[in-house]
């Protein structure tokens, strides 16, 4: 059997601990992290406030009035050895229409220059096959997805106001901004879908483990769909497919 090194435990203040599993974004690591989270939740250690998994690590927030960092570390170690990597049987694929044109894609020219791609090539790359949602985070419902076949450094200067629905790329990841706010990814399009809506019964359209299939739409279609979304009559297209690579 393959020997897997024990995770690294790092302090994150007196009410948090980070369990680091690796340094590279891979599907193998994703499966191990999800397996760990499931095992940790099964143990049900006392005093745990919340668990936040990400690409390569898991943050455990705990209440120091109810538990200690040593107890949390011990439970994490137990979960690590009991964990079985999660294997998905079927995948949920959300179809996300995106307008990749003009004002909806303020950083398109920069990205084309930086990558040497033509616009049609970039859009084809982005819509070719579904992206895997490794994690949700940053802002409510923001899906961190991979992998792009190229990597692009993030913006040096933070954009203070990114419009909701903006589709961005940064490093070899792609994501969808869900609320108006700051961001440092390059914006190549915008979707009329509301990925997060607290007034819906299911506030989040996406969770880790889902897939997103982007589809190109023109600006007229963008506004037509946005009106439907605003009126609450747009039903998101979700397909359940066999295990995707």
């Amino acid at each position: 059997m393959q020997q897997i090194a024990e995770p690294e435990f790092r302090f994150a203040g007196d009410g948090g601990m980070v369990v680091v599993f690796g340094t590279k974004i891979t599907r193998e690591l994703y499966g191990r992290i999800r397996g760990f989270v499931r095992a940790f939740q099964t143990i049900q250690p006392v005093g745990i406030r919340e668990i936040v998994p990400s690409y390569c690590s898991v943050m455990i927030y705990f209440d120091v009035l109810e538990t200690t960092v040593d107890e949390v570390r011990q439970a994490a170690r137990q979960a690590f050895y009991e964990a079985r990597p999660e294997r998905q049987q079927a995948s949920r694929v959300l179809h996300v229409p995106v307008c990749y044109e003009g004002v909806m894609a303020p950083d398109m020219d920069y990205v084309l220059r930086a990558t040497g791609l033509k616009r049609t090539e970039l859009v084809a790359l982005h819509t070719a096959s579904p992206f895997f949602v490794y994690m949700t985070g940053f802002t409510p419902g923001f899906p961190y997805m991979g992998e792009l076949p190229f990597s692009i450094p993030r913006r040096k200067i933070l954009r203070r106001m990114v419009p909701p629905g903006s589709v961005g790329i940064g490093a070899s990841q792609t994501g969808i901004y869900t609320i108006e706010g700051p961001g440092e990814w390059w914006l190549i399009g915008r979707t009329p879908l509301r990925i997060f809506d607290a007034s819906r019964q299911l506030p989040f359209l996406l969770s880790a483990g889902d897939y997103v299939q982007f589809e190109t739409i023109d600006i007229e279609k963008y506004f037509a769909l946005r009106e439907m979304v605003e009126n609450g009559i747009y039903a998101p297209v979700v397909a359940v497919e066999e295990v995707l690579p």
Partner: protein, 317 residues
């Protein structure tokens, strides 16, 4: 009902936070000064976690349709009720028809107003805390405006007499603020020299100091290894931006980010962050985890002792 005559510069409804959704990117929000928040609720005779008003920089003016038992704590905003001055860190009775008026924060930056029964706004995803960036919680997901009306929750039958918190438990608010930190998770990404620079040089709170983050002005740090993979970033973390500038993570901050974190400010010092104003000086000091836990539990002991003083009959054996 509480009628908002003047909302103040930024007044929101907050409670102990919206926990449980950080894995989906929803930050915890909640009162920024956990010490003053807890003290205000205790003084008002509320349960832990009741919703209060968090006022920033300049407080508001409120008219009460009904009588209420209430308390204030945190920054001194020179509260006045029908032209009678109210002591800070105290509870008091508000007669029906009275007007409660707050001014500018003289000491500190955030004041907490708790009313017995709590502010009864509609909870969103388990919390009444306002998260303005997504427009949820509180009142329509925004800061209060003139003309708003707030409902008061059902008050517990027990009435406590007005009470002032003993002076020894009232924290002093003054710049420079010494913020204790637990090292990690990415302290090792900074060279010894850079770490020394961070702890030796002071920083100044910039104008960008809100519920999402505090930008600090001072010597930029060189990160020898960049954390480009996003991971959880919690309340109190000190992130170093691409340009080398430190940011303190506050309760409305994104739940995950790809910045290296040189350390986390300890929970017992969160109140100092909330009360530090733009222009104030900040000095970081490293402490061990055991010391951080000891100080946090020490604050909890104060609340237990305060609860005992307020309602001895409930706690006596």
């Amino acid at each position: 009902m509480i009628n908002v005559i003047r909302p103040g510069s930024f007044t929101t409804i907050q409670d102990s936070g919206r926990w449980g959704y950080q894995a989906w990117g929803l930050p915890i929000s909640g009162a920024m000064d956990p010490y003053a928040y807890a003290a205000a609720n205790l003084l008002a005779g509320n349960q832990k976690g009741a919703a209060v008003l968090e006022m920033t920089q300049e407080g508001g003016m409120f008219h009460f349709d009904e009588s209420a038992f209430a308390a204030i704590a945190g920054a001194d905003m020179q509260a006045v009720i029908d032209d009678r001055k109210l002591p800070n860190w105290s509870s008091f009775i508000i007669p029906a028809g009275a007007v409660l008026r707050f001014g500018r924060a003289l000491k500190g930056r955030r004041a907490y107003f708790a009313v017995q029964g709590g502010i009864a706004s509609v909870p969103v995803m388990g919390s009444r805390s306002t998260y303005t960036a997504a427009g949820i919680g509180g009142l329509e997901g925004r800061a209060l405006l003139t003309g708003d009306s707030l409902s008061i929750g059902d008050a517990a039958a027990c009435r406590q007499p007005p009470y002032s918190m003993p002076e020894k438990w009232v924290p002093g608010y003054r710049s420079p603020w010494e913020l204790s930190m637990v090292l990690g998770p990415q302290t090792g990404y900074f060279s010894e020299a850079e770490q020394q620079k961070f702890f030796r040089n002071g920083y100044i709170v910039s104008d960008m100091a809100g519920r999402m983050d505090y930008e600090l002005a001072g010597p930029p740090l060189v990160v020898s290894e960049h954390e480009s993979v996003s991971e959880a970033s919690g309340w109190g973390a000190v992130e170093i931006s691409e340009g080398g500038h430190p940011f303190i993570v506050t309760p409305d901050h994104g739940t995950t980010r790809g910045f290296s974190k040189i350390g986390y400010i300890i929970q017992a010092d969160f109140y100092k962050i909330a009360q530090a104003a733009p222009g104030d000086k900040i000095e970081f000091i490293a402490v061990c985890n055991a010391e951080a836990v000891k100080r946090f539990r020490g604050q909890h002991e104060i609340f237990k002792a305060l609860a005992m003083l307020l309602r001895p009959e409930k706690h006596s054996i």
